[in-house]
C-alpha cells in the first residue's frame, strides 16, 4: 500500500465513521430534494408550484401515513431560478439518502442536471416544460417532461387557433406572432413554430422579450406594425402581465392573445387588471378548488395548520394545482414502483422504472380525487411525456373559465421530429440507444 492510498483509506474510513454516526435515513422514508424558488422574479410560480407539491406530500403523510407506510420527506434549497444556484443545490441535496426524483421547475437548471442525474440514476421531472427531445426515453432514460412537452403544447395552441378560425385549412395565409421569454425555456419552441407554419401555410414571426421582461414597448410596437391574427404569449413571471398591459396600450385585442402553459396563472392576469379580461391560455390542469383532492388538502393539511401557502386565497390557483398534479404524478410513480420492488425506500432507478410504468386513466384519476383537474397520463419506457391532454381557459376578470374540451396534441406529427432531435443528441454525446430490455434492468443500489 503506497503512502497516498494509506491516507485515502484513512480519510475514507473516517468519512464512513462520521456517516454511520450521523442519523442515517430511516429505513422507510422517501426523500424529495426540492430546488425551489421563493424569491426573485419568478417567485409567484415557485411558491405556488412548490406549495402545491408540498401540500400534496403532506396530505399523503397525514391522511395515509405515507405511501404504503413509507413516509415522504423533503427539504428546500433556494435557486432563484438561477442555473448555478440550482447546481449548488443539486450537489448539496444529492448526498441525502433515498432521493426519489428531482423537480427543479427550470429548464436552465434541468439542462445543467441532465448529465449529473443520468450518472446518479435518479429521475428528473420537468412537468409541462423541459427539453422536448427528452420525451424520447431511448436517449434520455432519466428525464421526464411529464404531461406536456413544449412541442405538444405548441401543437395544442396551433390546433386551438385553427378551431377558432374554423378549421386547420383556414390557417393558410394567417399571421401569428410568438412573443417568447428570452431564456432556454422561451426559445425551446422556435423550430416547431417554423415547422408548423410551413406545414399549415401560416406565417409566423417570433419576437424575443429579454429576461425578466418588464419592458416590452418596442416588441408590441413591432406587433402593431405586423398586424397578426393571433399573438401567442410564451411568457414567464412578470413578463406576462406586462405583455397584457402593453397590448392594451398599443391597441391589440386581448382576446386574440393565446397564452402558453407558463402564462396561464392568476399571478399572470391579476396584476394586469382589466387588460387581461378575455385573455385565453392553454393548461393541463384546471384551476379552482372544487376538486375533491384540493378539498382534502384544505381540510386535512390546512386544517392541521400545515398548509404551505401563506395566502390561502391562492389554494386552487393554477400553479398550486399544477404542484398538486405534480405531487400526484410523483407519488403514483413511487406507488407503481413499490408494487414491483416492495414497500420500502426505493432507489432512484427503481423510481425511474415507476415513472416509466405510470399509467393513470381517467377512472384512476377520478379515484385520486382529481377528475377534471387533469385528464390522464400514459408514460412508457420510450415515451416520457405520457400523452397529456390540454384544455383552454379564459379569464373573465375574476376567475378562469374552461372554454374547450380536453384536446389531444398531434403526437404522431411530433414524434418523428422528437426522435430525430434525440438521435442527433445521442450521436453527439456517444449515447447508445436504450431498448425495452435495458429499461427493465433496474439498479437496486
Amino acid at each position: 500500500m503506497t503512502f497516498l492510498s494509506t491516507i485515502k483509506a484513512a480519510a475514507l474510513s473516517a468519512a464512513m465513521i462520521v456517516s454511520v454516526a450521523l442519523p442515517a435515513a430511516h429505513a422507510d422514508e422517501q426523500y424529495f430534494p426540492l430546488q425551489s424558488y421563493r424569491v426573485g422574479p419568478y417567485a409567484a410560480g415557485g411558491t405556488g408550484f412548490f406549495g402545491g407539491f408540498i401540500d400534496y406530500l403532506n396530505l399523503i403523510n397525514i391522511r395515509d401515513g405515507g405511501v404504503n407506510g413509507v413516509k415522504l420527506t423533503w427539504d428546500e434549497c433556494e435557486t432563484q431560478y438561477e442555473v448555478e444556484r440550482g447546481v449548488e443545490c443539486y450537489e448539496r441535496q444529492k448526498s441525502h439518502a433515498g432521493a426519489a426524483a428531482w423537480n427543479p421547475l427550470s429548464v436552465g437548471i434541468a439542462y445543467a442536471m441532465i448529465d449529473r442525474i443520468t450518472a446518479d440514476k435518479v429521475p428528473l421531472i420537468t412537468v409541462n416544460h423541459g427539453r422536448t427531445d427528452s420525451t424520447d426515453g431511448r436517449v434520455f432514460p432519466y428525464v421526464f417532461p411529464l404531461l406536456l412537452n413544449p412541442y405538444s403544447e405548441t401543437s395544442g395552441i396551433v390546433n386551438y387557433i385553427a378551431s377558432k378560425e374554423g378549421g386547420i385549412d383556414k390557417l393558410k395565409g394567417k399571421k401569428i406572432v410568438v412573443l417568447y421569454h428570452g431564456s432556454p425555456y422561451g426559445k425551446e419552441t422556435i423550430p416547431i413554430y417554423e415547422l408548423l407554419a410551413q406545414k399549415y401555410g401560416f406565417t409566423v414571426q417570433q419576437i424575443e422579450v429579454p429576461h425578466p421582461g418588464n419592458e416590452q414597448q418596442s416588441q408590441w410596437l413591432t406587433i402593431r406594425r405586423a398586424k397578426p391574427d393571433f399573438v401567442v404569449l410564451r411568457g414567464w413571471g412578470v413578463m406576462n402581465p406586462v405583455a397584457l398591459k402593453t397590448a392594451v396600450k398599443v391597441g391589440y385585442p386581448v382576446d386574440h392573445i393565446v397564452g402558453n402553459v407558463w402564462s396561464n396563472s392568476e399571478e399572470d392576469v391579476i396584476p394586469a387588471g382589466d387588460a387581461a379580461k378575455g385573455y385565453t391560455a392553454i393548461t393541463t390542469q384546471a384551476s379552482g378548488n372544487a376538486y375533491p383532492v384540493v378539498q382534502e388538502i384544505v381540510k386535512t393539511v390546512y386544517g392541521a395548520g400545515k398548509g404551505n401557502l401563506e395566502d390561502k386565497a391562492r389554494i386552487g390557483s393554477v400553479y398550486h394545482n399544477l404542484g398538486i398534479v405534480n405531487g400526484i404524478l410523483n407519488v403514483e410513480a413511487i406507488r407503481v414502483a413499490q408494487e414491483k420492488f416492495g414497500h420500502r425506500t426505493l432507489t432512484g432507478d427503481e423510481v425511474r422504472w415507476g415513472f416509466e410504468h405510470l399509467k393513470l386513466d381517467p377512472a384512476k384519476v377520478e379515484a385520486l380525487g382529481a377528475k377534471d383537474l387533469f385528464h390522464s397520463i400514459n408514460v412508457s419506457w420510450d415515451n416520457h411525456e405520457g400523452e397529456g391532454y390540454v384544455t383552454f381557459q379564459q379569464w373573465d376578470g375574476k376567475k378562469w373559465n374552461v372554454v374547450s374540451d380536453w384536446i389531444a396534441p398531434d403526437w404522431a406529427l411530433l414524434r418523428p421530429i422528437i426522435e430525430k432531435s434525440a438521435e442527433a443528441y445521442a450521436a453527439e454525446k456517444g449515447i447508445k440507444l436504450r431498448t425495452a430490455a435495458d429499461a427493465d434492468a433496474v439498479a437496486t443500489n
Binding site: 447546481v87 429548464v107 448529465d115
Partner: protein, 346 residues
C-alpha cells in the same frame, strides 16, 4: 536604511515563492484526497473560475485603472468561442481551443477597449456596458454560435487532454486548477515587469506617464487584451468545468458586477485579492445559507431565509469595506503583521 523597525528586521523572512508553492502542493496533493463531490462541484470550481476572472479584471481595473462592466461578456465570448473551435475544427486539442478562445476574447476586448482612449472613469464603465449587451445579443440572435440548438443552451464537450479523460469532479478540478495556476503565475510575472509598471503609471497619472515616454494608447489596449484573454479563459472554465452547460443569459450584467465586487472586496491591484474576493463571494453565501437552513430551516421557508441571508451578506460587506477600504488583502496583511508582532514580543 534606518527606517526599518527593529521588529521587522528580525522577523523570519520566507522567500516569496514559498506560500504559493505550499498552497499549490496542498491544492494538488491533499484537497483531492479529502474533498467531497460537493466541495469540488459547488465550491472549488466556481471559486477557481471567478478567481481567474477576478485576476483578469484586476489587471485592467486594479492595475491599469480602467473600470469595466463587460467582464461577463468576455467570459461568454471565451466560452462560446471554445465551444465552437472545439466543435468545428477537427483535431484541434482542447488546450488549443481554449487558447484560441482567449485570443477571441482578447480581440473583442481590444475593440471595446477603444473608447478608453477617449473616455475615463464612469464614462468608460458605461461604454464597456455596450460589450455586455452586444455580446449577449449576438450570441442569442445568431443561433450559429450555439450550433442551432433549439433552446440556445450549449453542452460542454468531454474534457480530455491527450487522451486522458477529465470528466469526473476531481478531473475537472485539476483541469481548472492547472489553468488558473499557470495564468495567475503569468499575470504575476506581468504586473512585476516593465509592462506592469506602465499599467500602474497610466492609472496613477496619464499625463505624467505620457511625458516620461510610456505609450499610453498601446498600454491601455494591451491591458484590455490581456485582461479579456484571462477572463475569456475563465469563461471556458465556468462553462466546461463548472456548469457543463451554458446559455448566454448565464453571463449577464449580474455576473459582471459580481466580478467587479470580487476585486473591490478582495483588494484592487493585487493578484491575491482576486482569490480572497472570490472566496468571500462564493463561499460566504453558501456558508450563510447552510447555517441559516441548519438553524432556522424548520421555522422559516427557504424564501425568508434567502432574503435574510442577503441582508446579512450586504451588511457584512459594508462592514468589511468600512473596516478596511483596501480590501481583504490589506485586512489579511494587517492581521498577519499583528500576529507576527505578538509572536516577536513573547
Amino acid at each position: 536604511m534606518a527606517a526599518i523597525p527593529a521588529e521587522f528586521s528580525s522577523a523570519p523572512v520566507l522567500p516569496k515563492w514559498v506560500v504559493p508553492v505550499l498552497l499549490l502542493a496542498f491544492a494538488y496533493g491533499v484537497v483531492p484526497l479529502i474533498g467531497s463531490s460537493y466541495l469540488f462541484e459547488a465550491i472549488l470550481l466556481p471559486f477557481l473560475a471567478l478567481s481567474l476572472a477576478g485576476v483578469g479584471l484586476n489587471i485592467l481595473t486594479g492595475y491599469a485603472g480602467q473600470v469595466s462592466l463587460g467582464s461577463a461578456a468576455f467570459m461568454a465570448a471565451g466560452a462560446f468561442a471554445a465551444y465552437n473551435f472545439n466543435l468545428r475544427v477537427e483535431g484541434l486539442p482542447l488546450i488549443g481551443s481554449i487558447f484560441l478562445a482567449g485570443i477571441v476574447a482578447a480581440a473583442i476586448g481590444i475593440v471595446f477597449g477603444l473608447p478608453s482612449l477617449r473616455l475615463r472613469g464612469f464614462y468608460l464603465a458605461v461604454s464597456t456596458l455596450a460589450a455586455q449587451f452586444f455580446v449577449q445579443w449576438a450570441l442569442t440572435k445568431f443561433s450559429w454560435f450555439s450550433n442551432d440548438s433549439a433552446s440556445g443552451v450549449i453542452d460542454a464537450p468531454r474534457l480530455s487532454i491527450s487522451g486522458f479523460a477529465l470528466d469526473g469532479a476531481v478531473g475537472r478540478y485539476f483541469f481548472a486548477l492547472t489553468i488558473v495556476a499557470v495564468l495567475t503565475f503569468l499575470a504575476h510575472r506581468l504586473v512585476s515587469s516593465q509592462t506592469g509598471r506602465n499599467l500602474i503609471a497610466v492609472r496613477d497619472n496619464e499625463t505624467a506617464a505620457r511625458i516620461i515616454g510610456i505609450p499610453v494608447l498601446k498600454t491601455k489596449l494591451l491591458a484590455f487584451a490581456i485582461s479579456s484573454f484571462i477572463i475569456g479563459v475563465a469563461g471556458v472554465i465556468w462553462a466546461f468545468a463548472y456548469l457543463r452547460t451554458v446559455e448566454p443569459a448565464g453571463f449577464n450584467l449580474d455576473r459582471s458586477f459580481q466580478i467587479l465586487f470580487i476585486i473591490i472586496i478582495g483588494g484592487l491591484a493585487s493578484i491575491r485579492g482576486a482569490f480572497f474576493g472570490a472566496a468571500l463571494i462564493v463561499v460566504f453565501p453558501l456558508a450563510l445559507s447552510r447555517l441559516g437552513g441548519f438553524l432556522l430551516g424548520d421555522v422559516f421557508d427557504s424564501g425568508v431565509l434567502d432574503m435574510s441571508q442577503r441582508i446579512v451578506l450586504g451588511a457584512l460587506i459594508i462592514l468589511f469595506l468600512i473596516l478596511e477600504p483596501d480590501g481583504l488583502v490589506a485586512l489579511w496583511d494587517r492581521i498577519r503583521r499583528r500576529l507576527l508582532l505578538a509572536w516577536q514580543t513573547t
